[in-house]
Symmetry: C2
Subunit: 240 residues, 2 copies
């Protein structure tokens, strides 16, 4: 179980995320591309569309449980952006002659298992989940999309370039943490818990070859994803 | 409690919904306008925006609980249409110089009480709720909007003229009832239960004058709303 070890090692390393990882140093690369590990376009679209739908659903629950009409309104804007992305990914599936529901179906049980772990116990946790998991997954799929070819590569890149609503979530969460500073430690812990499961679900999307090289290549990519995550947590005033 | 009596009387009358109501006959009108009872534009927008958000939330829950990725996909399309309408109504609030969350706030507790009654016990009931309540409320607000003035009248009319996704819900529900005919009686009963609460919430939006005339005018309007509801239930193969 190399992956699990990897996560464990990085949990310590995450405090200084801008440093080069040991993986990068060993391989002598400055920036690792994921495109060699990009799966077949339908595999990519099925999973990115389903995960985007799941993020929408998390946000939709957060709309329902929002404590004020103002926060409800704000989160609904983020939900609509997530849903628009899902619909664009679905539209790409349709453009390629397939049915979105069918293309997503093989990933339903795995992604539902992931959702069950990350949905959060209350409004604050659900908001952190949306912020953290969407951030990680967007970064991941954006990189992975560079390995797609033809018009799908263009369309998917456009989807992940659209407004993501993170600024709205950031503002909401900052406001909540300011008005109740006791939230900080609980939400920091929750944010930390999300990373492992999210990177595992991301990893499961990859077309991993038999050779051990792929694992070595992945490590610095994931280190970069975690570094970006750490910056997002910093922006909340929380320790990653 | 005149309203309650009215509902009781109409519950019997609903079997022959195309007949003229006693109210219409007494007043000698062929079609009753609601525009005299249209409230102040902010009162209208606050409630229509909140109810539209609530319908979105019901649909979003139905996305989450959908039994297949295909139905999830279909319901998510309807959810996005409901959310787009909410956003257009919110945008109109902003255009008039106000903050949507603040304008909606006074109606939160009443509408949340309504939601608690209508959200449904499972996916099928939630879908019927979305279909039935959105149908009734759309009809109601569309009529009420004719009493607005200026640019708001135009914008709101445009909102309620956008695609509503009812056809998708109809298709989903028909498919479910066909594959499990035992659903029919339970969903028919559920649909019937929704009407009273929905007409009460609609009625609470109105600017009701002191005189008793308004009540008499309302009756045929509500009879027409119920007639349209009955046709929607007929389309599902269910008795209203």
């Amino acid at each position: 179980m190399r992956v699990v070890n990897w996560f464990r090692r990085n949990a310590r390393r995450v405090v200084v995320p801008r440093l080069k990882s040991r993986g990068e140093a060993a391989l002598g690369v400055s920036r690792v591309e994921l495109d060699e590990l990009t799966p077949d376009v339908m595999v990519f679209l099925g999973q990115s569309a389903y995960l985007q739908l799941m993020i929408f659903e998390l946000l939709a629950v957060a709309v329902t449980t929002a404590p004020t009409t103002g926060s409800k309104e704000a989160v609904s804007r983020v939900a609509s952006l997530a849903l628009a992305r899902h619909q664009s990914l679905s539209a790409e599936i349709v453009r390629k002659g397939a049915v979105p529901g069918e293309v997503m179906a093989p990933y339903a049980s795995r992604i539902e298992g992931y959702r069950a772990k990350v949905h959060g116990a209350d409004w604050h946790e659900a908001l952190v989940t949306s912020y953290v998991t969407a951030g990680l997954l967007d970064d991941f799929f954006r990189r992975l999309a560079t390995g797609l070819t033809g018009s799908s590569a263009v369309h998917v890149a456009e989807v992940y370039a659209t407004e993501d609503g993170h600024a709205i979530l950031l503002e909401q969460l900052r406001g909540e943490i300011e008005s109740d500073p006791r939230l900080a430690s609980r939400l920091a812990m929750w944010g930390r818990r999300l990373v492992g499961d999210t990177l595992l679900i991301a990893r499961s999307v990859l077309a991993m070859p038999e050779s051990g090289d792929a694992e070595a290549k992945l490590e610095p990519v994931f280190t970069e994803l975690i570094a970006a995550h750490t910056r997002r947590m910093d922006a909340l005033g929380l320790t990653a």
